[in-house]
């Protein structure tokens, strides 16, 4: 079939070319050449390209045709292409800025600050929030959780049998896969043994997400069989541990003492739920009723059938969940199912903070624009003569307008380039200064992509228009005759009003930012002063993992940790030493349900949940957790002694309010329920998941009676510098067993600090932006007043000559400035109240309308503004009549 040239581009070309036979014949020429070419995709591409080139040539350069061709002539202005005139104006702008380096430096610096901050934050927002997850059809992916709202659990990991039942019974769900995350593992290949984080995933997991293997193949499908000894390396671990060796597939990796075959290397990219993992083993998706199906440990990802909706899936899962509750009450009483779009879950609670930061840099940029606009306005007043001369020489209002806009664009462009460089340097610097502060999901992927580039360029152009338009419009309004007349050299009334309005806006916006930053700062200090229940200084912590053949049973592990703790205790400089399976403030840990052993048995869904911790040695003493009643755990609470536990205050007051908990007994659903645990002591509450979480009931076992986990975290309270103990610690562990790695030696103080890393970063950045904004606003105010004073030298001098004293003059100038400031502050307070509402979800222990913050921010900005007014005012009082007359 014969097909004609691409119709749309052809129609466009006809519209762009000169009218009549002239243009039509050019198109027909092109059509003829097209018809002579072999058919196909390349011919169409060629036509489009040639048509665009020809069209743009005419559009930009102009045809230069005059006779009977008005339409065309109109778009070109004086027979010259728009593009050419733009270039000319831009060139002029560059020359003009070179002549005025002060203006160029201040303007570019201000814009660079605004654009830089905005682009930096946008880069992060883009990577974390906007960029879809790097998976195949990511909109089909959901995270599936179990929830028990009565017990305050809204996103819990799931039981594998339940997950399989969801897949079988919910029609909208095509497939589920899951991951068991944050397993620590000791690997020995290649080189020294080291402890790394690993995950186990169902064999279909990567296929389900749509992630490719960079090398080798995915795991075998039978998780129980062949796949049990296979591992997939993460791209990062492959790089760091194997130096990106392409021959790694087929080699052996010793994991916890047993050999595994490396079958594949994952392609780079964010791994939902397993991002921190060095490698992946397999875990089977058990069925309900299987012997091995117990407990909740699986992070579940589901892929919906094409076109299915999350709301519909949730309805289906509600039904499935009810069926599972009835069929398996022991496991499922009280538990429901919850589906969340995977993207939403991954981004989680970081979204609000990021949007707030982006909005605040947006405000910073607006203030920067206002400042530069102000600067240009003051220059514009000086340049009115230049403009008037140009006008009288024949330049039209439009010419002047174009010229000024081009100047602004040059300024903005230079500032923008500088700003992007600043953004890059700033984020790098910040990442180095605050490691761990960027613990945002997917932030590692942050970088300059097309969207960031488009954003940076549009922000820059917009900035240029924003601050350039005002002075340019002003210039058009000015009549040449008035200006050339010497009397008209002062600033026009309208310009003065405009500049006043800009100052009001700047003050209002920066007050908003200051209040926001103040609220976050107050919230942050509240967060830091929260009683965590521990005394983190001077405590050293480190992790020891016994995973592997030699310490297969609890007895052997327990003996190892007993000896380790004993030997450390004998070292000089150690005040107290103990160990716990999980560190407080890290967020990770084990939990299970429990009840009063001697009370009537409540229905299963009403059993409360407690965090379970297993301790060795003098853990409470080392971590600084105070004993409230009874005794702590002792060396005599061994495997052959009666089963005892220490509980925290939350648990005691929940089960036995007002009564003595010591001597009471608990049934704990971790081990046989018919064997009770006697409470021998009560310790104060510890905020296990960070300072902004409420304490929950906790149960502490002796590790000697419950070696549930093969690893422990040492806690060593030092009499001197705790960091100095790290080599000693490493030495002792090495002497006991050279195959056991000591990992993550850290000061407990830094663990606590990291728990508040994100609010710290948000507070720091918002504080920085607010300070810069306030400074810009104050400088802007100062500029406006100085200028006004300079313009009124003659008037002031005359006043002084006829007897006005310095005080009067000062107060006149200050009054002029402070009127603007007060209006700005009033508007700012209203804006800040609205902003506070947006911020409220980020605040901890502070009201969004916190009077202290509001008054403080207003006072600071007011005082700074006053200083900015007094300085020019004071200068005004130094004017002598002689000076005033000379200046005229």
């Amino acid at each position: 079939m014969h097909r004609g040239p691409p119709a749309r581009v052809r129609a466009w070309l006809l519209g762009v070319l000169p009218p009549g036979a002239r243009g039509a014949s050019m198109v027909a020429d092109l059509d003829d050449e097209y018809a002579a070419m072999p058919e196909g995709f390349r011919r169409d591409l060629w036509y489009r390209w040639e048509a665009l080139r020809l069209g743009w040539h005419y559009r930009l350069m102009g045809s230069g045709v005059q006779a009977g061709d008005d339409r065309h002539h109109m778009t070109m202005g004086r027979g010259e292409g728009t593009m050419r005139s733009l270039w000319r104006n831009l060139g002029h702008g560059v020359r003009r800025l070179r002549r005025d380096p002060a203006l160029a430096a201040v303007g570019m610096g201000t814009i660079a600050l605004g654009v830089g901050a905005t682009v930096a934050i946008f880069t992060v927002v883009n990577a974390v929030l906007l960029e879809p997850l790097p998976y195949e059809r990511p909109q089909e992916l959901v995270a599936l959780f179990e929830a028990d709202l009565d017990r305050g659990v809204d996103r819990n990991v799931a039981n594998a049998g339940n997950a399989r039942a969801w897949e079988d019974q919910a029609p909208s769900l095509r497939e589920v896969g899951g991951a068991v995350v944050a397993q620590s593992a000791v690997v020995e290949s290649p080189g020294e043994p080291q402890e790394v984080m690993a995950s186990s995933v169902t064999p279909n997991y990567f296929r389900l997400l749509g992630m490719e293997m960079a090398l080798g193949s995915p795991m075998s499908d039978d998780a129980g069989g062949r796949a049990a000894t296979e591992v997939i390396l993460s791209h990062r671990f492959w790089n760091s541990a194997f130096g990106a060796d392409p021959g790694v597939v087929g080699r052996t990796l010793s994991v916890n003492g047993s050999p595994h075959e490396i079958v594949g290397v994952l392609s780079p990219g964010y791994v939902a739920f397993g991002e921190e993992s060095a490698f992946f083993r397999s875990v089977p998706l058990t069925r309900m009723g299987d012997q091995t199906n117990s407990g909740r440990y699986l992070w579940v990802v589901g892929r919906m059938t094409p076109g299915a909706e999350v709301a519909r899936l949730q309805q289906e899962l509600d039904v499935v969940g009810r069926n599972l509750q009835e069929a398996w009450p022991d496991l499922n009483a009280g538990w429901t199912v919850r589906a969340v779009p995977l993207q939403e879950d991954v981004v989680g609670d970081s979204a609000t903070g990021l949007w707030v930061l982006l909005a605040s840099v947006g405000i910073l940029l607006l203030i920067a624009c206002a400042n530069v606009a102000n600067l240009l306005l003051s220059r514009a007043t000086e340049r009115r003569q230049e403009m008037a001369v140009r006008t009288s020489m024949g330049a039209s209002g439009r010419d002047l307008f174009r010229q000024l806009v081009a100047e602004s664009l040059v300024l903005a462009g230079a500032g923008g380039v500088l700003g992007v460089a600043l953004a890059h340097a700033g984020t790098t610097l910040l990442a180095e200064a605050m490691p761990g502060a960027f613990a945002l999901p997917r932030v590692a992927e942050a970088g300059v992509d097309a969207r960031v580039l488009v954003f940076a360029v549009s922000v820059t152009l917009l900035t240029g228009l924003l601050f350039g338009l005002v002075p340019a419009l002003e210039a058009r309004r000015t009549a040449p005759a008035r200006v050339l007349n010497a009397e008209g050299r002062g600033p026009s009334r309208a310009t003065g009003r405009l500049r006043g309005a800009l100052v009001v806006a700047e003050v209002a916006l920066s007050l908003t930012l200051l209040v926001g930053a103040g609220l976050l700062a107050r919230s942050f200090t509240t967060l830091l002063s929260v009683e965590n229940g521990i005394r983190p200084e001077p405590v050293l912590t480190a992790r020891v993992n016994l995973s592997g053949g030699r310490y297969a049973d609890g007895e052997a592990r327990s003996r190892f940790f007993q000896e380790l703790v004993d030997r450390i205790a004998q070292e000089p400089g150690v005040d107290a030493v103990g160990a716990n399976t999980f560190l407080p403030m890290v967020g990770l840990g084990a939990a299970t349900s429990f009840r009063d052993f001697d009370a009537p048995v409540p229905p299963r869904e009403e059993w409360p949940t407690a965090d379970i911790r297993n301790v060795e040695g003098d853990y409470f003493g080392a971590m600084g957790i105070d004993l409230v009643a009874g005794r702590t755990l002792r060396a005599t609470d061994g495997s052959d002694a009666p089963q005892v536990v220490v509980v925290n205050q939350s648990l005691a007051s929940r089960l036995w309010p007002g009564a003595d908990p010591v001597g009471r007994r608990l049934a704990i659903s971790w081990g046989p329920l018919e064997e009770p645990w006697e409470v021998v002591g009560v310790v104060e509450d510890v905020r296990i998941k960070g300072p902004d979480t409420e304490p929950r009931p906790s149960i502490y076992h002796s590790y000697r009676q419950a070696a549930y986990f093969p690893f422990m975290q040492l806690a060593i309270r030092a009499s001197g510098d705790p960091a100095a103990l790290a080599p000693t610690l490493r030495g002792i562990v090495g002497e006991m067993d050279a195959g056991i790695p000591l990992s993550q030696p850290r000061l407990m103080a830094s663990v606590v600090r990291d728990a508040v890393a994100r609010p710290r970063l948000t507070t720091f950045l918002l504080g920085l932006f607010a300070t810069v904004s306030a400074l810009l606003a104050v400088v802007g105010l100062y500029g406006v007043l100085s200028y006004a004073v300079a313009r009124r030298v003659r008037e002031i001098g005359l006043r002084m000559a006829i007897g006005a004293d310095g005080g009067r003059v000062l107060s006149m100038v200050v009054r002029q400035g402070m009127t603007l400031v007060l209006v700005g502050l009033a508007v700012g307070v209203v804006l800040a109240v609205l902003t506070g509402r947006v911020l409220s979800s980020l605040l901890f222990g502070v009201q969004s309308v916190d009077p202290v913050t509001f008054l403080g921010a207003t006072a600071i900005l007011g005082a700074a503004s006053l200083a900015a007014c007094v300085l020019p005012g004071w200068r005004a009082t130094r004017v002598t009549p002689a000076e005033a007359l000379r200046d005229g």
Binding site: G4, A21, S25, V27, M61, G64
Partner: protein
């Protein structure tokens, strides 16, 4: 002599190509003639705008010719006006004057 009589190199090539094509001086043929004899690609936009410019200077005229049945639009046949021919002559003379005495040098280069 009017300033319009000075011709750029590309303008000369266009005029000469039109003259050479004679009855067949349609845009496509003229452009092909230039490309073949000068061994260089000619941008469509530059070519048409040059034709427009030469027309404005009064050196080129065009009239609609009878197009073939398959052609999608009008067909222009270009002719060089006497002014155009005069300008070509002027340019050639000027160049020849300049070239005089430089033949040896040119051959060595």
């Amino acid at each position: 002599m009017s300033p319009n009589a000075f011709l750029g190199e590309f303008e000369q090539m266009v005029l000469l190509a039109i003259l050479k094509q004679g009855e067949h001086a349609f845009a496509l043929e003229v452009r092909r003639e230039i490309e073949e004899s000068a061994h260089r690609k000619v941008s469509r936009g530059a070519f048409y705008t040059t034709l427009d410019r030469l027309e404005r200077k009064g050196m080129v005229e065009w009239a609609e010719a009878e197009p073939t049945a398959r052609r999608s639009g009008p067909l222009r046949r270009f002719t060089v006006t006497p002014e155009g021919v005069a300008a070509l002559r002027t340019s050639r003379r000027a160049l020849e004057t300049l070239w005089n005495g430089l033949d040896l040098l040119a051959e060595e280069g």
